[in-house]
Symmetry: C2
Subunit: 239 residues, 2 copies
């Protein structure tokens, strides 16, 4: 399931940039797959935590592995105090992607990667804390609220919504958010992944790689395209 | 003076990644050049400001242009108040490159690039403020001092030293720092430049590009190599 990735950007068009076993985009007859699984199946039948485990460790977790992984993510939701202060200093007009980029960069100074054997731990910490960074900033900058980064929601999707809305989310909203997170989890050799890989090639730390990747994902030709699509959809008055 | 750049990294070895008119590394008979000028000449005879102008605008400034450029840099040394608070929340044990990465990322939320026509202004602002970010954090985290980001030193090199040492630097130190800044100003198509260019290819903003580039420059196989060289030199007891 390892596919060579041929780049389609101007400067490197047609060149093989590297190999990835994570996913394929537009493979004949399959569409988007993660580790060989059709993303349409995953989006309906899996939890985001299962998919994150699949992408990180190469196979779907069994029941005990999933429980451990979920507990691990739940325990790592909290923000360091200094990071809360930093987020409180980013204004309401900040671009949310810039907030995430700054938050992960700052976390890298607070919980530095000591050596490469810590990268798995660091990856899980970053995954667990991203919603806390975004929602803490959002609630403080927009409403002056210092929210708790804990909630009673066990799932990643439900917890994210609980913090963002500052109330218990409905089952339907949680289900939709779960599917959305799965559909955005991987997209093979895109610009943000490429940025992270160039950064990693210097043996820099994981925080630098993710910080750089967020900066690329921000661009209108990459993740920013979602914003443009949302704006277009907002213009329609009926279904 | 536009040269195609052939990559030497593993995944893209031998491929042409893009073109640059900025500099050449190891060109036959010339060594390192910036816009065609031998870096050895520049390091001895030019100021860092002249070289920065050369790299940004394509040619060396005349006397009036240089004066304007110097004044512009001097006027943009100050840190926004919120950025000072953020820097005060980064501990003394932070890696200096992580501090710069976080500082530029945070600045991107405070003084966002409104459109591409602002990129020249943004580039000059980033250039002017980088020493302030580093030295403000250093003096606060190590000595509890909230330094002024103004000094009586007109030159970039002298001002940097004045803030870092919190005293007037000697002429010799300023001259050495000036040469050092010139020698590090450009190095063609290295990993940090490559990171910035991948990020820019998504039409993301300049802050994201520079934040990502700093994250790559941090790596032991890139800028981090200087640290390793310095550690080796430190072991010698005599010249």
């Amino acid at each position: 399931m390892t596919d060579k990735k041929v780049l389609s950007g101007a400067g490197l068009r047609g060149q093989v940039a590297g190999k990835t076993a994570l996913s394929t985009v537009g493979k004949e007859g399959a569409g988007l797959t993660y580790r060989g699984y059709d993303v349409r199946e995953l989006a309906v039948h899996a939890s985001f935590e299962e998919v994150a485990y699949l992408l990180l460790f190469g196979e779907l977790p069994n029941r005990a592995q999933l429980k451990d992984f979920e507990t691990n993510l739940q325990h790592q939701r909290e923000l360091p105090f200094a990071l809360k202060t930093i987020l409180e200093n980013l204004s309401a007009s900040s671009h949310p992607m810039d907030v995430l980029r700054t938050g992960i960069s700052a976390l890298g100074t607070m919980e530095p990667e000591l050596n490469f054997s810590h990268q798995e731990e660091t990856a899980i910490r970053i995954l667990a804390i991203l919603p806390s960074i975004l929602c803490y900033w959002y609630q403080f900058s927009h409403f002056g609220k210092r929210i708790s980064c804990q909630s009673e929601e066990p799932s990643y999707a439900g917890h994210f919504l609980a913090m963002m809305l500052d109330q218990k989310p409905s089952k339907l909203h949680t289900k939709v958010m779960n599917s959305s997170l799965i559909l955005y989890a991987e997209h093979e050799f895109n610009a943000s992944t490429f940025t992270a890989r160039v950064c990693a090639s210097t043996l820099s730390d994981l925080y630098s790689c993710i910080t750089g990747a967020i900066g690329s994902l921000r661009g209108p030709l990459h993740g920013g395209a979602n914003e443009a699509a949302m704006e277009m959809i907002s213009e329609y008055k009926t279904v």
